[in-house]
């Protein structure tokens, strides 16, 4: 008796690991300026320790990765974001 495909039970979710195409959110949303005075927005681009996330994770285009890193560094100078910390998120 051949098992039908829908009857097969997977031990793990087969959709995990199938990578979705990353995109640059600035290009997609039409954002032209990254505001350094908005720390809540910049939190999306730093990890728990407050380090800037690489492009391969965020999917930013090079142009906007540069603007993001500039904005994060300005926010750090103004003490809106920490230079280093633990448990930021």
């Amino acid at each position: 008796m051949a098992a039908q495909k829908k009857d097969i039970k997977f031990l793990t979710n087969p959709n995990i690991g199938r990578n979705r195409k990353k995109y640059c959110r600035f290009k997609k949303m039409g954002i032209k300026y990254v505001d350094y005075k908005d720390p809540e927005f910049l939190l999306k681009f730093v990890n728990e320790q407050g380090k800037i996330l690489p492009r391969r994770i965020t999917g930013n285009s090079l142009k906007f990765q540069r603007k993001v890193s500039q904005a994060v560094k300005r926010a750090r100078h103004l003490s809106l974001l920490p230079y280093l910390t633990d448990g930021l998120k």
Partner: protein, 130 residues
């Protein structure tokens, strides 16, 4: 050549209200005296700092946006260093055309924190404008 700059100043939390007012008006008057055109001024009030500066954990944030000659900036920063008992930190940024548009939109309530009430309405015109 006139360019538009934005300066963020963090003032000491130990200042009394009168001292705070006089310092802020001092800077705006100084800009006026130097014939800089103050475009926008914003007081964020007392805010928690992400890390202590000069052993202080909070500060008054002041944002000044002005059109001025490029020599003004260094002179203004000299003023900040001169009052270094009142000023914890400052940062001056040259605004490009996208930044100017962003700030205009922000003041009109199209982007940023004050957007909440008009999220859906605001998205359409900004997308079409670009």
């Amino acid at each position: 050549m006139l360019k538009q700059y934005e300066t963020v100043v963090i003032l000491s939390p130990l200042l009394s209200e009168d001292e705070l007012k006089s310092t802020i008006t001092g800077y705006t008057k100084w800009l006026k005296k130097k014939k800089a055109e103050l475009v926008h001024q914003e007081n964020w009030g007392l805010k928690q700092l992400a890390y202590p500066i000069e052993n202080k954990h909070s500060g008054y944030f002041l944002v000044l946006e002005y059109k001025a000659d490029n020599s003004i900036v260094s002179e203004l920063e000299v003023e900040f260093v001169r009052d270094n008992d009142r000023v914890l930190r400052f940062l001056t940024v040259l605004l490009d055309k996208y930044a100017l548009q962003y700030n205009d939109n922000k003041r009109a309530g199209l982007v940023g924190k004050n957007r909440k009430s008009s999220i859906k309405k605001a998205d359409a015109p900004t997308a079409s404008a670009e």
